[in-house]
């Protein structure tokens, strides 16, 4: 079973578009974070697909992918912590209300 590279790239672009739509259109900060995560993963999928079809002998791309996943995990943890902090302050997670740097 041989899936051509194009399919992976199409999936990746699709995922990225879904994530972008979510991040841009939703008011809930958690949904925005989820959208960002989806875009992240779309990028990683893209990276892995290219590695698999073009540079299979090297491990560099795999390492980059693992780094990116762990960084994305850390980033989402920080993002969620921020959302909780914001929620404690505003009693809301609406991103439109978080328009001010003043506490």
């Amino acid at each position: 079973m041989n899936i051509p590279l194009d399919h992976y790239l199409m999936l990746s672009a699709f995922l990225f578009a879904i994530g972008l739509c979510g991040a841009l259109s939703r008011k809930n900060a958690i949904i925005v974070l989820i959208g960002i995560e989806i875009m992240f993963n779309a990028g990683i999928l893209n990276l892995i697909a290219f590695w698999h079809y073009k540079y299979f002998t090297s491990v560099t791309a795999q390492m980059f992918a693992i780094f990116a996943i762990s960084i994305a995990a850390a980033e989402s943890a920080i993002g969620l912590a921020l959302v909780i902090a914001v929620y404690r302050h505003y009693k809301s997670v609406d991103v439109d209300e978080m328009a001010s740097l003043k506490g």
Binding site: L20, A23, L24, V95, D96, A99, S100
Partner: protein, 686 residues
């Protein structure tokens, strides 16, 4: 004492005024509650000055040869270009004797003041001013430079202003302080002109210098230079300087401030009348004496003598008809200063200065005594409401008696010798002046006797407990609380009478040194001039006559009630009223000089309003018009307009851009995505 040691002491003369000056500086920072510290500081500083002054005095003594021992120390105060202003310190017999007197009398006045001012709220302020007063006077005495002397002279004037108006909330005191300041200032104009002329003619203000080019050492040369009014330069300068002394030493016609100076606290009166203020004028004339005598046979010396003589008689007549205990003494001071000035005018430095010294002791004694009387009778100053105080205040009485006898010139007391010297010197110069002065001496004896009987003899006339506080100056801050001692007079505390006792000793003993003082100053005297017996005899006789007359009028039957008419008033009639009102001099000045000045003032004010203000306003209005024009044309339109519009556009831009910074993260993100999309499209289709 060799000259080097004397020189060394002269360098240290500045320490004498330094102590009270430092004390004053410290006291100006003390809180009001620190009474003991303030008074203690003041007295200790004065004591230290006194010790130094005595040390310097002893050093100038003990010369066998007749040459005057004189040491000085000049230094440059500051320099600009080739001109330099000098300061100098002097140690010679005149200075040394004077410094001892000022420091010593000042010391005991301070001690007395601790009692007199005990109940005053502003005790520390008082001692601060007094300390400064003493410091400036001591500075005046030790200066070897006319500039330094002038600075101290003005400081003395300032301090007397501050102290006369110490109770400035009393209108009379506020008026008196201004009067004293302005009147002496009139004299100071002359003094200042004299200093300027001296500097102009000699190029130095140092009195003595090492190379003998000091102002006084050039007096001989100045006598050959032409001055003004047909006088030589030396005499012109002397005359101008004498105008200063006229104001300071309260000589006619500038004597009016001195009696009003009674508004100050009594220790101040003692200080002004004995040790400092008025002594400054006579001392200055004595200091500058070589200028006065440089050109023999001109009218300046006669002028000095006649002013003194006239003041002596004139003030003595006023003193006869006063009822205020301090006012009698004030006019007596005027009169005695007249004696001193007269002696100087007659050409005798020794007699004038010696009378200044002895007078300082017994007049300080009398003033402090009157202060004790005032405290003892609960702030009564009217002699008619006193009487019988001998019984209540024995120590004060005996000391006062000594002072009175010294002032009257009764033989063994100090005043006899010094006054005798003065009369003798005057006798040699002018028989008429001598006659008048003898008459003044008679009046002196008379009014002092009158005062003694009114105050100390008879029975107590004021202060029944019910109207013990009915007197006029009820508003003095140190007024006793009502019912404090009842209405009875009482003896004062030891710190008030002790100075009297000490000063009494000098009032008795000082006179015996009159011959030595003359030699000490280096003035040749000695040989008995003709008329000595006559002068001395007449002096004693008029003294006795005055006392006798005083006893006849006031002593045989003392006053019974405070409201009783003065027996002298009955016999003298209108004249008594005239004397009581001080020959209407104040009123005369009021309608002449003051009214004239006021009219001038009104006229000048009109001139100022109409002409000067008119011109100024015209200039101002024209400038205003021009500026309005510029404002409308240039400023408002071009500059402001241009500036405003550029500001406005910057503001608009800012407003627009500020909208981008909404803080909405999703907006930023949208823009970012859009940009990325556009970049991608560009990438794909090019």
């Amino acid at each position: 004492m060799d000259h080097a040691a004397l020189q060394h002491l002269a360098q240290q003369q500045w320490l004498i005024p330094l102590f009270p000056l430092v004390a004053a500086a410290i006291q100006s920072l003390l809180p009001r509650g620190q009474r003991k510290l303030s008074a203690g500081l003041c007295i200790v500083a004065m004591g230290a000055s006194c010790i130094l002054a005595v040390r310097a005095f002893l050093a100038t003594l003990g010369t066998e040869h007749h040459e005057v021992e004189r040491a000085f120390f000049n230094f440059t105060w500051f320099q600009f270009g080739n001109t330099h202003l000098d300061m100098g310190l002097l140690l010679d017999p005149l200075t040394a004797g004077m410094a001892v007197m000022v420091a010593f009398v000042g010391f005991w006045i301070f001690v007395n003041a601790t009692g007199y001012m005990a109940e005053d709220d502003n005790f520390t302020r008082f001692f601060c001013f007094q300390s400064l007063f003493a410091a400036s006077m001591l500075g005046l005495v030790v200066s070897n430079n006319l500039l330094l002397l002038y600075i101290c002279w003005e400081l003395v004037g300032l301090c007397s202003y501050l102290l006369i108006g110490f109770w400035y909330f009393k209108p009379a005191a506020a008026a008196a302080m201004k009067k004293a300041f302005i009147t002496t200032r009139i004299g100071d104009v002359g003094f200042f002109l004299g200093i300027l002329m001296l500097y102009w003619k000699t190029g130095t203000l140092n009195l003595y210098t090492a190379d003998h080019t000091g102002a006084l050492e050039q007096a001989g040369a100045l006598a050959h230079l032409a001055g003004w009014w047909g006088l030589s330069a030396a005499s012109t300068i002397a005359f101008l300087l004498f105008i200063g002394a006229l104001g300071k030493s309260a000589q006619f016609p500038l004597h009016v401030w001195l009696p009003d100076a009674m508004e100050g606290p009594t220790p101040v009166s003692a200080l002004i009348h004995a040790a400092t203020m008025v002594a400054a004028g006579v001392f200055m004339v004595g200091r500058m004496f070589p200028l006065f005598t440089a050109e023999p046979g001109n009218w300046v010396m006669d002028f000095v003598m006649w002013v003194g003589c006239f003041t002596a008689v004139f003030s003595a007549t006023i003193a006869v008809a006063q009822f205020d205990i301090k006012r009698v003494l004030a006019y007596s001071t005027c009169s005695q200063l007249g004696f001193m000035v007269m002696a100087l005018g007659a050409g005798s430095l020794a007699a004038g200065q010696f009378h200044l010294l002895t007078h300082a002791f017994f007049k300080a004694l009398l003033f402090l005594g009157s202060g004790c009387v005032i405290i003892g009778t609960h702030h009564e100053q009217d002699m008619r409401k006193m009487g019988g105080l001998k019984k209540y205040m024995p120590i004060t009485f005996w000391c006062y008696l000594i002072g009175m006898l010294a002032l009257c010139g009764v033989p063994p007391f100090a005043g006899f010798f010094s006054k005798d010297e003065v009369l003798l010197e005057t006798f040699r110069r002018s028989k008429v002046a001598w006659g008048l002065a003898t008459f003044a001496a008679f009046l002196t004896a008379f009014y002092m006797t009158r005062q003694m009987f009114m105050v100390f003899a008879g029975k107590w006339r004021g202060g029944q407990p019910d109207h013990g506080h009915g007197h006029a100056d009820h508003d003095t801050p140190d007024d006793h609380g009502s019912g404090h001692h009842g209405g009875e007079p009482h003896e004062v505390s030891w710190n008030m009478w002790l100075p009297l006792v000490v000063l009494s000793a000098f009032a008795i003993g000082l006179g015996f040194f009159s011959q030595q003082y003359g030699q000490y100053l280096g003035v040749e005297g000695g040989e008995a001039p003709e008329g000595k017996a006559l002068v001395m005899g007449s002096s004693v006789a008029v003294g006795a006559l005055g006392i006798l007359l005083g006893w006849l009028i006031y002593g045989r039957r003392t006053m019974e009630h405070a409201t009783e008419e003065d027996p002298l008033s009955a016999s003298l009639g209108v004249l008594f009223t005239v004397l009581n009102r001080k020959w209407y001099i104040d009123e005369l000045y009021e309608v002449t000089i003051i009214r004239f000045t006021a009219v001038c003032g009104v006229f000048l004010r009109l001139f100022d309003k109409l002409v000067v203000d008119g011109i100024l306003h015209a200039i101002a209005w024209s400038f205003w018009g021009v500026s309005q024009l510029f404002r409308w044309l240039g400023d408002e339109f071009f500059i402001n307009g241009g500036f405003d519009s550029s500001c406005e556009s910057v503001r608009l831009g800012g407003k627009t851009l500020a909208k981008l910074q909404s803080g909405r993260v999703q907006n930023y993100f949208r823009v970012l995505s859009l940009g990325a999309a556009i970049l991608l499209l560009i990438y794909f289709f090019t």
